[in-house]
């Protein structure tokens, strides 16, 4: 049996929840303080109005209504208009500064009556109650309040609204909430986390349970962006229905195309690994230049070098990036990795791609991005990015910097080598007291490729790939040995 759901309109949430929130039910959103519970609730209502014309009631027991209005405006949601039209109704249960004492028994029937009044009057489909913890801090009689919250849940059920109730947690991994309310709100639970790991904050969302209904398991990273609020980055992204293309595109270097059995596959991801100065950016420049062939478009995300540096270097290899940009074939975006989190970078890349619609994207270098995230976060970023690029049928070239000049591998590679389709290694080789450059296609999914390790040189025309190293062994491990020929 699958319960009917209503689309929330929160980017990617409807994907990981397999269609949104269970209709006519109440979902508990639990999280530590600062985990964006209130924002999630507010966004759920705002999207309801903006996208589906469904009115909503926002109950606040914690933040003052005016503070919430202010926050909402900062996301460009026209709360004033919505309130005027009666589509957004606040129910203010926030603590007031009047003194109040308790003598004898009581219940929260006034709240229930107000809630019902607000829902019927506005014909609300969506209700958010923020938060249980602050109800308890205003009314400390645990037993009474638990009973009252149960009645509130029944009221919501009777009125058939699809509701969110938020609850505080004390730790990121532990009990769902500290109020024992799960017993009657237990059908649907979502957990928001804001974990500090190795000095880096990482926000995630997890659908813990949706009774009688499908959803994607596990934690999904999300980020909060001005103008968009919560944006979830689904790791299972768009389903694995990417068509595998047999169309080939040029790497921009004829000899390399030959080594790859006729060029890269159009929807493949190519990883270029090498030490600093080994020719990675050169390969990227060639890859960009390769778009000339079919008048395609390329996006270059540069995380290491400035625009001026890049353009100058390209000129040194006989390529005119300025002209390419003028012709609208190239877009160069230079950003310092540190300016934002990996999740933000991902959303940023996604937006540029949707806007510019490139056929190719080059990221130079991926290693620079590892500086801003944890290993796990980085891996998730790569998974999300590659599945996005494949979905859009974009050829991607990523570079990774190895820490050692000769041989060696890097964390970046370890994390992503299984995800990429093609791996090209650029290595320095010391032969007979001379540093030479080598290039080899280590892996090429679904195609025959040249297994030789070849010499290459760099001149004013760019990359010149030559003959294989003969009689030398151990190049990739960084200890080349000349084998005696008989």
């Amino acid at each position: 049996m699958n319960i009917k759901k209503i689309l929330t309109g929160i980017p990617a949430f409807d994907h990981i929840s397999d269609g949104g929130l269970p209709e006519g039910r109440t979902t508990l959103i639990a999280g530590t303080s600062g985990s964006a519970k209130t924002l999630f609730g507010a966004q759920y209502l705002a999207m309801g109005i903006a996208l589906f014309d469904q009115p909503g009631v926002f109950v606040t027991f914690e933040e003052q209504v005016n503070d919430i209005r202010q926050n909402l405006r900062s996301f460009n949601w026209d709360i004033d208009k919505w309130e005027k039209e009666g589509k957004w109704v606040f129910l203010d249960g926030s603590p007031k500064d009047e003194e109040s004492v308790t003598i004898g028994e009581y219940d929260l029937s006034a709240f229930r009556v107000r809630l019902e009044h607000a829902i019927t009057k506005s014909k609300a489909k969506r209700v958010v109650i923020d938060s249980i913890g602050s109800v308890f801090s205003q009314f400390p009689e645990m037993h009474t309040i638990r009973r009252e919250l149960f009645k509130v849940a029944m009221t919501l059920r009777r009125l058939q609204t699809t509701s969110i109730i938020t609850a505080e947690r004390t730790e990121e991994y532990g009990d769902i909430s500290r109020f024992g309310v799960e017993e009657f709100l237990t059908d649907n639970v979502i957990i928001l986390r804001n974990v500090l790991n190795k000095e880096k904050r990482r926000r995630t969302i997890e659908i813990l349970k949706f009774r009688g209904s499908n959803h994607v398991k596990g934690e999904h990273p999300f980020t909060i962006i001005p103008g968009q609020a919560i944006v979830i980055i689904p790791l299972s992204a768009m389903e694995l229905n990417q068509r595998s293309s047999t169309a080939r595109v040029s790497s921009g270097v004829a000899k390399l195309d030959e080594m790859c059995g006729g060029g890269f596959y159009r929807d493949s991801i190519i990883l270029v690994s090498g030490a600093t100065g080994a020719g990675k950016t050169l390969l990227v420049a060639n890859f960009i230049n390769g778009i000339r062939e079919k008048k395609g478009r390329c996006l270059l995300m540069a995380f290491e070098e400035s625009r001026e540096q890049l353009f100058r270097n390209a000129r040194g290899w006989g390529q005119d990036f300025e002209q390419l940009e003028k012709d609208g074939l190239l877009k160069v975006v230079c950003i310092y990795p540190e300016v934002s989190s990996l999740e933000d970078h991902f959303v940023n890349i996604q937006e540029i791609v949707k806007d510019f619609k490139p056929d190719r994207i080059a990221i130079d270098s991926l290693s620079a991005l590892t500086r801003t995230s944890t290993e796990k976060g980085f891996r998730e970023f790569i998974i999300a990015l590659t599945s996005f690029l494949k979905h859009e049928e974009i050829t991607g070239m990523f570079t990774a910097t190895t820490p050692l000049l000769t041989g060696g591998s890097s964390v970046t590679e370890g994390n992503i080598s299984t995800i990429t389709d093609t791996i090209i290694l650029l290595r320095y080789v010391e032969v007979s007291g001379e540093m030479q450059r080598s290039i080899t296609v280590l892996k090429m999914r679904g195609s025959r490729h040249d297994a030789a390790i070849r010499r290459f040189t760099i001149d004013s025309q760019g990359m010149n790939i030559g003959d294989p190293f003969v009689g030398v062994s151990g190049i990739l491990t960084g200890n080349p040995v000349v084998i005696k020929q008989n």
């Binding site: 003598i103 004898g104 028994e105 219940d107 929260l108 029937s109 009044h117 009314f139």
Partner: protein
């Protein structure tokens, strides 16, 4: 005049509501000697009044005058405490 102005929010005939009404009427009569203006608001009849006053719990007693405005939540089951809460000198008799 120092007349007490009180507002009591109740929910129909619920037990705690009835208890609070009785207690308050007794206080008006015995302790304030009628020197009080008591309004009883039934939220079933006038839900918007609860909204305007920001009432959550039932029963809730609001002392509008003398200032500052104060609120007492509950069935008002302990008379001495209600008197203290309202700032009325209790009858020693």
């Amino acid at each position: 005049m120092n007349k007490y102005v009180l507002q009591l929010f109740i929910n129909g005939n619920s037990l705690t509501s009835m208890e609070a009404v009785e207690m308050l009427q007794a206080i008006c009569k015995e302790n304030l000697k009628g020197n009080c203006e008591l309004e009883i608001v039934d939220i079933q009849v006038e839900p918007q009044r609860a909204e305007e006053a920001g009432i959550l719990a039932i029963p809730t007693l609001v002392r509008k005058w003398p200032l500052p405005e104060t609120r007492i939540i509950g069935a008002l089951s302990v008379k001495t405490r209600v008197l203290t809460g309202l700032g009325i000198a209790s009858d020693k008799s």
